[in-house]
């Protein structure tokens, strides 16, 4: 029982980070059909902005996260307009190569600026230690992650369900040509969705800095996990990656807890099985 609660709790915290980072990738891949391997770069950038602001300028955690969100969203829109947009409709190989190129460059840049070591993270004192939730105590930081994660997700889903932007986005993911024919400016929509997705990734990077260490290898080391969330969840969906992130979070945590000898073996095998069963992912359209 203790074990089960632990697994669920830690799995959930891990899943939140995975989801917040990856959801943007799912939407942009679904919307633009763009294989963006460099998505992790935005999460890494968000992590660096957050941590550097806190360490070097003593900016409060919340404000640092906000700055990271805005800064990375703006940066991503510049990249999208100047570079990504040229490759819409190009082959997968070109997109893969281009985004690998971006990864290499960004890794070299952050290494040059801040060195190869992981950035030390000093969270506010309220977030350290344990919090008693009645049943038992839980690590405060992870509880905070789960709460913030759920709030963000609620906000995101409400936004996509209730706002005009959300309606246009759903229409464009559904049928881009149709959406264009009823006068939706899909180019603008792409840019907005891209910025939002990258901003969320940055937020995920900053929020999760204490779980997924911020160092130059970030963009490659965790890439496989972000891609797994998207591939298993299905492109262009909000719900899909959520379920996938939960599966991955619970699965990975349970494996480490119960059968550490198997390592990542189970996770990869499960993914192969899932994708064979549903090649377009759990919530993707074939």
């Amino acid at each position: 029982m203790e074990a089960l609660i632990s697994i669920l709790f830690h799995g959930l915290a891990y899943a939140m980070i995975l989801y917040i980072v990856s959801v943007g990738l799912s939407v942009t891949m679904g919307l633009m059909g763009f294989v963006n391997l460099a998505h992790g770069v935005f999460a890494m950038a968000g992590g660096y902005v957050t941590v550097r602001l806190m360490n070097a300028y003593a900016v409060p955690f919340g404000l640092a996260l906000l700055v990271a969100f805005v800064a990375v969203a703006l940066l991503s829109v510049v990249l999208e307009r100047t570079l990504y947009a040229r490759l819409y409709g190009a082959g997968e190989l070109e997109q893969v190569l281009f985004t690998i190129g971006l990864i290499f460059m960004s890794v070299a840049i952050v290494r040059y600026l801040w060195g190869p070591s992981p950035q030390p993270v000093h969270l506010p004192a309220v977030l350290s230690g344990q919090i008693d939730l009645g049943i038992r105590s839980f690590p405060t930081y992870r509880t905070f992650l789960i709460v913030v994660g759920l709030l963000l997700i609620a906000l995101l889903w409400l936004g996509v369900e209730r706002t005009n932007f959300g309606a246009q986005l759903r229409a464009a993911v559904d049928n881009r040509r149709m959406a264009e024919s009823i006068g939706i400016d899909t180019r603008r929509l792409f840019s907005l969705a891209f910025a939002l997705g990258s901003g969320l990734a940055a937020l995920g990077g900053g929020l999760g800095a204490d779980i997924l260490a911020i160092y130059p290898g970030y963009a490659t080391e965790y890439l496989v996990y972000f891609l797994m969330v998207v591939a298993i969840g299905g492109l262009g969906s909000l719900r899909g990656p959520f379920v996938a992130a939960l599966l991955l979070g619970f699965g990975d945590t349970a494996c480490k807890y119960l059968v550490p000898e198997l390592g990542a073996f189970f996770v990869f095998a499960a993914m192969i099985g899932l994708l064979l069963w549903r090649p377009a992912g759990l919530f993707g359209r074939a």
């Binding site: 997968e92 281009f98 690998i100 460059m105 073996f265």
Partner: protein, 318 residues
């Protein structure tokens, strides 16, 4: 000239195709100090060549080709460490092992396309890497496989410290592989792969067993990649988990793309330039090596999709 003859002439052997081999032989005599690097370049050329068959010709965008390189390396390594140090039989065994893995994973992976295919190739590689990591009792796990004692080739040519034997051995194997690959891409089968790359739907509609063709080339390519891996294992007498790494898969794609995909010689140009540049430049500022590679990739995608050979083509045509 009649169009048919023009077309046939394109498949005929041209003198310029001898150039890489002349260079390779010249290197042996002129740059005797650089043969260990030379051997690794030859191995990477072979690996890139095998990738060209699936990526360049059949259009399968994979990020998991190191799976086969790794299986070949481990097969040859384990054979040498536990069974026999005879190199040629090790090479054959590695080719077979990689082919089997290629065929099995191809059965799964080739049912899909796009992102799913990409993810599955990644997952297969990760799975194998994890297996190699966990089966430490036979693979050496994260510490790598040591203790291979490779016997002289034909019982005559010992692998020497200066890497002369290793270089010539790799060169001979690459030459044979090239002969085979060249024959393959100019055959009807090779042309039909290009057809699949250009338009899979149409290949179905002209009665081509697309899945079987893809599986065939995937298996062949896996075997060649396995031979490349085996060469690395035998010439360095070591196999580590990095042979199955994502980085190796990514780097080999980059090398091939630098050279130019679907051209057979892109592998030679790309792997050659990349490895030499890395050897020279990475020494000066290793961190920024990746910055320049990244920048070059972005520029390549934006302006020169055919790679170096594509650029040369364009210049010649002008």
């Amino acid at each position: 000239m009649h169009p048919i003859d023009t077309l046939l002439a394109r498949h005929r052997f041209r003198a310029i195709e001898l150039l890489p081999w002349l260079i390779a032989v010249a290197v042996y005599f002129v740059f005797g100090d650089y043969l260990p690097l030379g051997s690794q370049i030859l191995i990477m050329i072979l690996f890139a060549l095998s990738l060209d068959l699936v990526l360049g010709y059949a259009g399968i965008v994979t990020l998991g080709h190191s799976a086969f390189f790794g299986v070949g390396a481990y097969a040859a390594g384990i054979y040498a460490a536990h069974v026999s140090g005879e190199p040629l039989s090790g090479l054959v065994l590695a080719a077979c092992a990689a082919a089997v893995v290629g065929w099995l994973s191809g059965l799964v992976v080739l049912r899909t396309t796009g992102l799913t295919l990409l993810m599955l190739t990644l997952a297969v590689t990760a799975l194998l890497a994890e297996a190699a990591n966990k089966a430490g009792f036979i693979t050496g796990g994260a510490d790598g496989l040591q203790g291979m004692d490779i016997r002289p080739i034909f019982g005559l040519f010992r692998f020497d410290l200066f890497g002369r034997t290793a270089y010539l051995y790799c060169l001979a194997v690459l030459f044979l592989a090239w002969l085979f690959a060249r024959r393959l891409v100019h055959s009807s089968f090779g042309r039909s792969l290009i057809g699949i790359r250009e338009n899979t739907a149409r290949m179905h509609a002209i009665g081509s067993p697309v899945r079987r063709r893809l599986l065939t080339i995937y298996t062949i390519s896996a075997a060649l990649a396995g031979v490349a891996g085996a060469l690395l294992a035998q010439t360095t007498q070591f196999v580590g988990l990095t042979v199955l790494g994502f980085q190796r898969s990514g780097e080999i794609v980059i090398m091939l793309v630098f050279g130019g995909i679907g051209r057979l010689y892109g592998a030679f140009v790309g792997a050659g330039i990349y490895m030499i540049a890395q050897d020279q430049l990475a020494k000066l500022e290793p961190a920024f090596w990746y910055f320049w590679i990244g920048l070059l990739l972005v520029l390549l995608v934006m302006f020169a999709r055919g790679g170096v050979l594509g650029l040369i083509d364009r210049i010649l045509r002008r």
